[in-house]
Assembly symmetry: C2
Homo-oligomer: 395 residues x 2
Amino acid sequence: MANLRQASLRHANLALVARTVLAADTPPSRADVAAATSLTRSTVSRLVDELVAGGILDEVESVVGGPGRPGRPATPLRASRARVAALGLQVGVGQLAARLVDLSGAVLAERLVTADLAGSRPGPVLRRLRTLATRVLDATPDGCRVVGAGLALPGIVDVAAGRLLSAPNLGWEDVTPAPGLAAALGDLALRVGNEADLAAHAYAHPAPGRDREPRDFLYLSGEVGIGGAVVVDGEVMAGRHGWAGEIGHVCVDPDGPPCRCGSTGCLEQYAGRLALLDAAGLDPSTSPAELARRARDGDEQARAATRSAGRALGVALSGVVNVLDIPTVVLGGHLAMVGDLLAPEVEEILGRRVLSARWVTPRVVIADVDPAPGATGAALLALDRVVSDPVAHLS
Amino acid sequence: MANLRQASLRHANLALVARTVLAADTPPSRADVAAATSLTRSTVSRLVDELVAGGILDEVESVVGGPGRPGRPATPLRASRARVAALGLQVGVGQLAARLVDLSGAVLAERLVTADLAGSRPGPVLRRLRTLATRVLDATPDGCRVVGAGLALPGIVDVAAGRLLSAPNLGWEDVTPAPGLAAALGDLALRVGNEADLAAHAYAHPAPGRDREPRDFLYLSGEVGIGGAVVVDGEVMAGRHGWAGEIGHVCVDPDGPPCRCGSTGCLEQYAGRLALLDAAGLDPSTSPAELARRARDGDEQARAATRSAGRALGVALSGVVNVLDIPTVVLGGHLAMVGDLLAPEVEEILGRRVLSARWVTPRVVIADVDPAPGATGAALLALDRVVSDPVAHLS
DNA sequence: CGACGTAAGTTGTATGACAAAACTAATCCC
DNA sequence: GGGATTAGTTTTGTCATACAACTTACGTCG
C-alpha cells in the first residue's frame, strides 16, 4: 500500500500499454491502444515510443496486407521478437528441461533430457541441469537480453528463500539450487517455484501478458504424484506461504490406504501415476498413454482403473470446488494423457456433489501434453515482471 | 485495469490517508500519517483537510493528556463519530437483526429478535425485518449520514443481482429481498451477501479500515448447517460467482450419511448443529452451549459427539488447508460455543494430514459469540467502500 | 519570564504526467 | 487532383505531488 506519485502514474500506464499490446490478438496501432485504454493518443504515443526504444515492443513495418481502409495506415505494434527473453528450467521426476522463451512467447532454444530421477542426489542432477542451461543460454540470439531465470521443482518450495523444502518423489530435502547453477546463470536471478504452480501459469498465459480462457481454474499436474494449483483471475494463488495447491493430499476416504505423506486415503493413492498403473495391472514404468490405449481398446482392468481414479478425483475436487467456487478443472501431465477417460466420471461426480452445480455446471478441460510445462511457466513468470514493471527494464 | 490520470492519484492517496488513520491504534497526527505513508506533510495536510471537511475524519481537540514533548502539539486524527454510518441486516435461521454501525466501528443502534425461521415464508419475514430496519434507522443521530445497507443471508446468493438463490435451512428459493425492504430503506442501496462471508469480514475487520490478525484464515460459521469463507490478506475470497466457502458440503466420507444437498458424507452431517445435538442425544432445540456444559461436566455421549465432530472438521479442513495453504481456522456461531472442545481434535488431525504442518503448525481460533455477526459485516462492508473511495462520498 | 529549540502544520514554487486540441502525415475515393 | 478519413505528433493547459521556506505553538532553561 505505497503512496502514489507522478512517477507511479507513468509506471502504471507504461505497464498498461505494454500489457494491452501483448494481450491483443492482432498487432494494434497506437490509436487502437488509446481506444482500448481510454488514454489519449498523445499519451499512448509517448509511452509506446519509450517501450519501443526499450526493446519491449516492436513496430511492424509490413503493411502489405493492409485492409484498404481510408485514412493514414496504422503502424501495428507487437511484442518484440528475440530481444528480451527468460530462461525456464525444470527438474521433474522423469526429465530435465531448459527453455529460453522471448517476450512474444516463442521458444528460442530448448533442451530436454529424460531421466529417472526418483531417489536421485541433488548435486549431480543440478550439474546436468547446469549443462542444459549453459547450452540453451549459448543459443541466445545476438541483441537478445536474458532478463531472468526460473526453476520448476516438484515439491514444497520456499519461494522467498529460493529453497526446495521437500520433494518426496525425488527424495530431496532442503535443497538450495541457485549455487549449483550459478556457473551457468552468472548474474541472472533464479526464482524457484512449484512445478504445478508454474505449469498452471503457463496454461493461463500462453505468452507474456496474454490471457487464455478460463481465467479461473484448478490445475492438476499428474507427475508421479499429483500436484495442483489454484488460479484466480489468471493469477496463481500462492497461499500464505506459497504452498497452496496440494490437491494430491486431499482426503478422499479417511479409511483409505496409507500415503507416503503419513496420512491415509489421499487422492494421490487413487489417481497418482503409480496408483493408476498398479490398479490397471501394469508395470510402474509403463506410460500412461499405454494405459489409455488399453482402456480405449476395451481392457476391462484398465477401464476400472480410470473409473476408480475418476471417482477419487471427483470426490476430492468437489470439496475444493465447493470451497473455492472455481468450477473449471484443467488436467495436465499424466492426467491429460488419460483425460478423456477420466473426464466423464469426474464431471458426473462434480455435478452431484457441488452445491452450485444447479446454476453453473462444473467442467473438466484437458491440457496439451508437454513434458515440461513448468519450465515454460518459469520463463513466462520472469517475463511477466518485465511487462508489469517496464520501467525497471528500460535500461 | 483502467488507466491512471492525475485524479486517480488523488483518489488513491485520499483512500490511503483515510485507511492509515483508521488503521492506527492511537489517533495519529498529520505528521504521523506523512511518516507512515511517505507522502509529504503538505500533501497529507491537504488530503486530511478534505477528509475532515467531508465528515470522514475528525480532529480530536482534547490534547489534555499530551505527552509533554517539546514542539508544537499535534492535532490527533481519528474516524469521525456518528457522522457516517451503514445499516447491517441479517436473516438467520434463529434470529433477525438490524444494526447501525458508524465509521469508528461503534454500533449506534441495534435491534435483535429471536425467531424460528426454518421453513418460513420470505414475505412475512422480510416485513418483520423491515420493521427492525425502520426502528434502527429512526435512531440515526442528527448529522449522521447513512451511506449504505447490507443484508446477510444463510444461503447461496447472487451478489450482482441482489438475489438469494437458495437457502435450504430457511426453505427459501429464489428470493429478491430489496423490494420488500424498500419502504424502510428508501434510496439506500442494499447489498445482499452470504452470512458466513460477511461474518468473516467482520472478524477480519473489527472496524472499517482496521485489520485484525490473522490476515489469512478459514472462517467456519456454525448455524444450523455450516457456512464458511476463505479470507486472504484480509479480504473475503468471493470465487468465480461469489459462492466460495461452502465448507459444509465438503466430503468427509464418500460412504457417509446422505445430506440434504443430495450428496453423501458432507461435513454438515457430522458437525452441523443438528448432527451435533443428535449425536449427543439432545433435542434439536437445545443450545449448543448446553452441549458444551455437559461435555465439560464429563457427559460421555456429549464428549463423543464433539470428538466425532472434531474429527470430521479435521478431515474436511485438512483438505482445504492443503489446497489453500491457509493454516488458520476461525470457528464462529455454534462451533464457537463448543470451540474449546473441538479445537484439540481438529488441531491434532490438521497436524497429521496437512502436508506443510512440519513447517507451520495449523491452529484453530475461536471467535467471540455474537448472534448476528453477519449484520455487522454487512454494515462494515458498506463503510469500507467509503474508506476505499472517499471521493465518491465527499458531498 | 523571555530567548531558544523543537516539532506540527501551512504556504508558495517547481516538476512532471496526462488531457485537449490543433496540426501534420499518409492513404482511399471520387 | 481534391476532399474525406484515419494515424500519429506537437503545443498548451491542468493538476497533484515534491520541495523548501515559513508560521505556529509548545517545552525548556537560563
